[in-house]
């Protein structure tokens, strides 16, 4: 039981990091970045490109690199659509997803590439009752630190205060002398970097494949609908909860179908019961 919960939390870590990036970007720009799945995939391929020995370097270099790419994208294209209906940016990032996926397919083909478990994390950690693979413990710890760090940054620091102010009342913040536009690009880059980090972490555990992000992003969409995209806490909590539920259903119901459609069933239930998400705020009717 405990073991399955743990595995679920590890699976939820990937969902949480991607959902967190999505929620941070949405909070600041009102943009849902469809390309987040593709960025996750690029993160994994980035780790692959730097070869297995350099996992620790990849853990830093790849997210930073992708974050910079995200900032460039924000400056060059996303920004141009900022004044329009957010759906246009959804469409734009969908187009970018197709382009990025096919570029990677072109270069690496469609078969999965293996990635060795990084040196130093090959063994297992003894928790008394169970042994857990060290790498999975590492993933969970990193995800927990990052999620906590983002929460701390947003709710307990001056930087977070400014970002939250820009998110909630952009006009008022601007009137009070905050340069709102200055924060948009770094926040977008940061959200993208989180997806990249999730991708690097996923490389040793999951098959590295050009379509690995496409399947993930749809689950993440369901997760953020469950948690309420406007709420960063809700998105992360829903991600871990779905991870655990998936692992438990897989272990006890012995049905791949149930564990795979579970997230959508939960989403349907949430839409029925609380359409704005478990932790989301009521939308304006428009």
């Amino acid at each position: 039981m405990l073991q399955h919960v743990f595995n679920g939390l590890v699976g939820g870590s990937f969902l949480a990091l991607v959902a967190l990036g999505l929620a941070v970007i949405f909070g600041m720009l009102r943009v849902v970045n469809f390309a987040h799945g593709a960025i996750y995939m690029l993160g994994a391929f980035g780790a692959l490109a730097l070869t297995g020995e350099a996992f620790w370097a990849a853990l830093v270099v790849v997210p930073v690199g992708l974050g910079l790419l995200g900032m460039v994208l924000e400056r060059t294209v996303v920004n141009r659509l900022a004044r329009l209906d957010p759906l246009y940016n959804f469409l734009l990032t969908f187009g970018l997803t197709l382009v990025l996926q096919d570029l990677v397919k072109w270069r690496y083909g469609v078969q999965s590439s293996p990635y060795p478990t990084p040196a130093g994390l090959g063994g297992s950690v003894d928790f008394g009752l169970f042994d857990f693979p060290a790498y999975r413990v590492f993933v969970l710890v990193v995800a927990a630190i990052v999620c906590f760090g983002v929460w701390f940054l947003l709710s307990r620091t001056r930087l977070g205060l400014i970002v939250r102010a820009c998110t909630e009342r952009p006009e008022l913040s601007a009137a009070l002398g905050v340069n709102v536009g200055r924060w948009v690009t770094p926040v977008f880059g940061f959200g993208v970097a989180l997806a990249g980090l999730a991708g690097v972490l996923a490389a040793p555990m999951r098959a590295v494949h050009p379509l690995m992000g496409a399947d993930l992003i749809i689950v993440v969409f369901a997760v953020v609908v469950i948690g309420g995209l406007g709420s960063i806490f809700g998105s992360v909590a829903a991600a871990f909860a779905i991870g655990v539920l998936q692992a438990l259903s897989e272990a006890y119901l012995d049905s791949a179908l149930v564990s795979q459609i579970l997230v959508y069933v939960v989403m349907a239930a949430v839409l029925l019961w609380r359409p704005s998400g478990l932790f989301g705020r009521e939308e304006s009717p428009a």
């Binding site: 659509l81 759906l87 469409l91 187009g95 197709l98 969409f221 795979q260 959508y264 839409l271 939308e283």
Partner: protein, 325 residues
């Protein structure tokens, strides 16, 4: 869809202007009939100019695009999960043709009705959200249908799909002309919906949901009705697609299929009805040409074109060419 909605609102204001008809409107009406006649002639000529199989495919995607545009252009709801209806109808059409031996128009109708039934629960839940959430929710539900179809291989054939769907008209050239009346019927249905009082209410809901609600319209119910009609049209297209290929694959349910249809709509022009068939012809022809010339990264090209369209020609081909600002 701020731009297109402003556009349609302006057009509606023009259409509803009281008093004597503005000068030149008779000419414009004639031009419209000429355009329609030209389109019909073009549709009749199409299988002479292209491979008939490609022509059939254009018909299917044209219906699919119009189905999505009915929601996107006239209700302001962007469904990113219409593959659920297209693919479900494709499977249902294939299954009734294989197991019951129904002739193809009846099989397609069965498929489209199945899609409409599926649209009831999905639509009921999805219309509780709007905007970007609507897109995500429909996408997620479509993925659920995809997973179910993948696992339920005793019915759907799983990864192998439905093989050798029977069809009386084996030659694609003649099948095109057999399919054409169904497609015209679907397009006429869409045109009727848009120009009916029901369609006007949809546009009112799109432009100002609060006011529509205040006027006593049951907004959710109208949206659900539009969603079901859209699913029916997508189902007609999907059923024809199954019959046209005589084969149904899981790809018909995949999110890339939904995405391709949305690309077609935006490229053709949101909220124009003409844009759907135009975009379908362009994209299907382009993809056929790309795969014929051995280029496998089709997503690179269509995705790139789409990015440029969204950045530079948001009004689409039809909107840019034929709609005044």
């Amino acid at each position: 869809m701020t731009e297109s909605s402003a556009l349609v609102a302006q057009e509606m204001a023009e259409a509803e202007r009281p008093g004597p008809e503005p000068r030149g409107s008779a000419l414009r009406r004639n031009a419209r009939w000429l355009l329609l006649a030209a389109a019909v002639v073009f549709a009749l000529w199409l299988p002479f100019g292209l491979y008939p199989a490609v022509a059939v495919e254009i018909l299917c995607w044209a219906l699919f695009a119009v189905a999505i545009d009915l929601l996107l252009g006239y209700v302001g709801l962007m469904s990113f999960g219409h593959a659920a209806f297209w693919g479900t109808s494709a499977y249902a059409t294939g299954l009734v043709a294989i197991h019951w031996g129904l002739p193809f128009p009846l099989a397609v109708l069965c498929g489209a009705l199945t899609a409409t039934v599926l649209a009831v629960p999905i639509g009921y839940l999805a219309v509780k959200r709007t905007g970007i959430y609507f897109a995500m929710v429909t996408l997620a539900f479509a993925q659920m249908i995809y997973v179910v179809a993948n696992k339920w291989s005793s019915l759907t054939g799983g990864e192998n799909g439905l093989q050798s769907v029977p069809r009386a008209i084996t030659d694609n050239f003649y099948f095109y002309y057999a399919a054409l009346p169904i497609v015209f019927g679907g397009l006429f249905l869409a045109w009727r919906i848009v120009h009916s009082p029901f369609g006007r209410v949809l546009v009112a809901i799109r432009d100002n949901p609060s006011r529509a609600r205040a006027l006593g319209y049951a907004v959710h119910r109208y949206k659900l009705m539009a969603f079901m009609l859209s699913a029916f049209l997508a189902g007609l297209g999907g059923g024809l697609f199954a019959m046209g290929h005589r084969f149904v694959s899981l790809e018909t349910l995949h999110w890339t299929t939904s995405g391709k249809a949305v690309i077609i709509v935006v490229l053709g022009g949101i909220g124009t009805l003409w844009g759907g068939p135009l975009g379908a012809a362009a994209i299907v022809r382009l993809e056929d040409w790309l795969s014929f010339s051995g280029f496998e990264q089709i997503g690179l090209v269509t995705g790139g074109i789409f990015v440029l369209t969204v950045l530079l020609f948001r009004r689409g081909v039809w909107g840019t060419l034929f709609k005044r600002r």
